[in-house]
Symmetry: C2
Amino acid sequence: MAGARRPGAEISDLTAKRLSVYLRSLEDLQAAGVTTVSSQAMAEKFGLNSAQIRKDLACFGEFGVRGVGYVVADLKDQITRILGLTRDRKVIIVGAGNLGMALADYAGFNAGGFRIVALFDNDRGKVGGRSRGGVPVLDMEALPQIARREKAGIAVLAVPAAAAQKVLDLVSRAGIKAILNFAPAQLKARPGVTLKAVDLKIQLENLVFHLARAEEVHR
Amino acid sequence: MAGARRPGAEISDLTAKRLSVYLRSLEDLQAAGVTTVSSQAMAEKFGLNSAQIRKDLACFGEFGVRGVGYVVADLKDQITRILGLTRDRKVIIVGAGNLGMALADYAGFNAGGFRIVALFDNDRGKVGGRSRGGVPVLDMEALPQIARREKAGIAVLAVPAAAAQKVLDLVSRAGIKAILNFAPAQLKARPGVTLKAVDLKIQLENLVFHLARAEEVHR
DNA sequence: ATGTGTGAAGTGCTTCACAGCG
DNA sequence: CGCTGTGAAGCACTTCACACAT
């Protein structure tokens, strides 16, 4: 019952992503006044296998009550803790173009423990301004200093592909250890730095691939 | 040597995504004047295994030249064809908020065979306007008609989570078979409809998870 | 009776290693 | 000789199926 993590368990990235999904669903359930939920019920909600959900949760201890299921409030707190979401995290966005500006004001981004503290750009015309939501646009040169002073833990890259690797190196040198890249480029992060990519073009191309296959079968 | 697909080969989604990555890299190589490339060289570029690249490509025929590698221009054309990127695709975006507007003007989105034809919103204050790049904002009620008339094949969902499932159903009924969802919600698509999700919050939470683990090891 | 936790089986993706072609 | 194409081995994730707790 102690909050300690089971020591031997190595948690896969896929499991961690599913935990986020479970967490969101538990918040919905809690808001709806549901107090306990079975792995079965959750599985149906996501189109997953119930054993997978139990395995994911069992990595961290025995949260379930046999014969009953999981207590929604408890499980929510446990997952929040496991994912490290108890503390607020400061985020900087590099690139104050269309996408960067939109992300700075995106509601889902500026909530649930995340706070966007600044945008950075090297375009002097943009520096000094603010996003509609009020996030300030600062000079790229100030990035290392501001990142350290604000203790920003996460950087979002919304810069052109050609500049992305350089910016990644810059923010890494500034001590940032977690980076979300929106630039359509394959980047290399130094060890100890977690880099995730959201490549919109690849997503679209992948959709086209499925469309093309469907059209072919249809013929 | 004929362009025909090998019949038995079932292509996995992961392979298809990597093909998009290869394609992008081949475009770079071609622009740099490189005419042939080995799987080794490409593997180093992405931090992948060379056998994987060869396997991915071998699904569709024997494109390589033994002892030499792959001819960049040929391989690029083949992958373009395999991914179904020979034809232009029309895209609609539902939700003309910050994110939808930014996506409509996003350079990487409006290029390489993709064309964003319209934004849709049910907010009368937005309808009739345009994005900065000139994409018109139309009334949601006009969606089915416009989608069919324009033969839009892809829809991007940039609406609030609470509305997402309804909008997904609406665009599905309008005949759209490929959907990219940005709303933070688990949606269910009917059979025959491909649904991909870009869940920014889950990405951020995943980064925090890695940060939290790193901090723990550090202690 | 009900639903968790988990070893074992199943599935699919990745990597190895080498035959074979240019 | 160099590099592709590919069967076989390795590995990771998923699903099954059931003992066991309540």
